[in-house]
């Protein structure tokens, strides 16, 4: 078994809101009890609708925000108790690729400058060494050498995402957090970027925390999957068991709602009624109960814990009956 690069134990992130002159104070539980282990060369996909806490989780994983509760260890070092200098080093080993390559690159810097910036900020090497490293990384992600002095607007979306990936890899991170890295790209370009990410993973033994809402992409790239709903994991385990034997009604509906490219599979399925409940006043019990066709009295009274059913973790009272 390869080493665990990132270990999260019961991570929580709560935001106090309101409390103005007339407002009522509240607590948004953006992430509420997430645990996972991410190993070298593996990909964990986080799946869920907007507002389910995926991006807050990414911010915690990249140490941009401390968790309110819970423990995050990177490469065996707990982040909460680390000194400021140690935290800085840990932060370097986790890098991020953002969703929108049009917004995440500085339009006033050349590709070369963008790629050298992480090295310059962290005092790695001298000028010529930094330039050589940047040029080498450009070749790795499939950009031409003569594009070194070009500006981001001269590139297409797919090429810009290559630049963003190259920038994330400049400091030799162990873990890359990719927040919807291909959702802004067209299908043919998406395939190129996914291939590149898989090649780089193999070459550098990277671990990916891959955040996506596209289940077909997740099925292609991930090894493990965590489905989140209202800040909590509802189903978590290896890709194979989740895609073939999903036990949580939310996962099943998510799978059913994803359009298949096989017209013969045109499904007449029950759609999920309604929308996500407000994270400000989450209902007691199971957060999905109000939209769930299987819900019974116990669902609104008692919050289901993540437990082992059918070879993976499921947070549902009726997991055995469904399937």
């Amino acid at each position: 078994m390869s080493t665990a690069l990132m270990q999260a134990t019961d991570l929580r992130r709560h935001y106090p809101v309101g409390g103005g002159l007339f407002g009522k104070k509240g607590l948004v539980k953006a992430v509420d009890g997430v645990s996972f282990t991410l190993r070298e060369g593996e990909t964990l996909a986080i799946v869920g609708e907007s507002g389910c806490g995926k991006s807050t989780l990414a911010r915690m994983a990249t140490l941009l925000e401390p968790p309110t509760e819970g423990e995050l260890a990177i490469d065996g070092h707990p982040t909460a108790t680390a000194s400021a200098t140690a935290r800085r080093d840990l932060r370097l080993s986790v890098q991020m690729v953002f969703q929108n390559p049009y917004g995440s690159l500085n339009p006033r810097k050349t590709v070369g400058a963008i790629l050298q910036e992480p090295l310059a900020i962290n005092n790695r090497g001298d000028g010529p060494a930094r330039e050589a490293a940047a040029r080498a990384m450009m070749r790795k992600v499939g950009l031409r050498d003569d594009q070194f002095t070009r500006y981001p607007h001269m590139f297409s979306g797919g090429q810009r995402q290559r630049i963003a990936i190259a920038r994330a890899l400049m400091l030799n991170p162990r873990v890359v957090v990719a927040d919807e890295p291909v959702s802004a790209l067209d299908v043919s370009i998406q395939a190129q970027v996914l291939n590149l990410m898989m090649d780089l993973q193999e070459e550098f033994r990277l671990a990916y925390l891959f955040i996506s809402h596209d289940l077909s992409v997740v099925r292609h790239i991930a090894r493990d999957v965590m489905v989140m709903y209202c800040g909590r994991p509802v189903e978590q385990g290896s890709k194979d068991t989740i895609f073939t034997d999903a036990r949580h009604p939310y996962t099943r509906m998510l799978l059913a709602a994803t359009p298949s490219v096989d017209p013969a599979h045109r499904k007449v399925t029950e759609v999920i009624k309604g929308e996500l409940p407000s994270p400000l006043n989450p209902p007691p019990g199971c957060a999905f109960a109000s939209r769930c066709p299987h819900s019974t009295d116990i669902c609104t009274a008692e919050r289901p814990a993540l437990r082992e059913v059918a070879g993976h973790g499921v947070a549902c009272h009726h997991a055995e009956a469904i399937g």
Partner: protein, 325 residues
Amino acid sequence: MKLLEIRNLAVEFATSRGRFRAVDGVDLTLDAGEILCVVGESGSGKSVTMLALMGLIAWPGKVSADVMRFDGTDLLGLSPRQRRKLIGRDIAMVFQEPMTSLNPCYPVGWQIAEALRAHAAVPRAKVRDRVVELLDQVGIPAPASRMGAFPHQLSGGMNQRVMIAMAIACTPRLLIADEPTTALDVTIQKQILDLLIGLQRQHGMGLVLITHDMGVVAETAQRVQVMYAGQMVEEQGTDGLFATPRHPYTAALLDALPERAMGRPRLPTIPGMVPGIDDRPDGCLFNPRCRFTFDRCITTPPALASIGDARARCHTPLDGQGRPA
């Protein structure tokens, strides 16, 4: 008679580097009660085609077509006044990005009522009732109280429903939906698509759905048109398109889908990218990226060729095994 008939549509824009054809040689026909999907990557001219149909291409854009008829009415020869009567009543459009398409300064109920008032579709005293009815029809809970809500108070899915309510306010005969679900989550996407198809069946509307998502095409369309760099490259029934794509571009696009690559670690890709304004090749526009390019592809632009039930803009459309015929 066809509900919509467009032949050889071209849209040109004057640029500093000369004229640029954003759309070239697009044919589009639609029967009442039919669902047509127009699919293509960004920059392929899908949206411009529909804007041309709606008469929303402004100067310096120039629209030309051999035929452009809606239910027998020539759309090109309409005066602005006649056009305003038709658009919004008989032909309606749902735009992408509901958050930016709605006016943030007015309540959503008022914006829906505007369409009804402009076309005097119902007596003034009944407008309010009709708005409530429409909001209810598109599945917005507590419609009477949501009438006064502003767009920022509603979620993306709710705003898209408001856009649909606005479009169907005057029970149009042709509804054009431009990427209606692109900004939405899959479960909300499913709800919106089901809603559109339900309304289409209920009113016998013609529905043109523009999308870049092959999954959406497979789930909704009866017929599909594939666009590439401003041209229609293939037209076929949905089942046929997914089983035996005739144009190499369509075939490559389908192969690049992760869902079709089950078990294989690497996805087949299309090298290069869609040509932009100043790098359009001679001959077939797809020839620099095509697997089957030969001499004629580089010199001569292909015409639309019929093969089976399909039409493909290719010198050598693919046979059933994915090889050039």
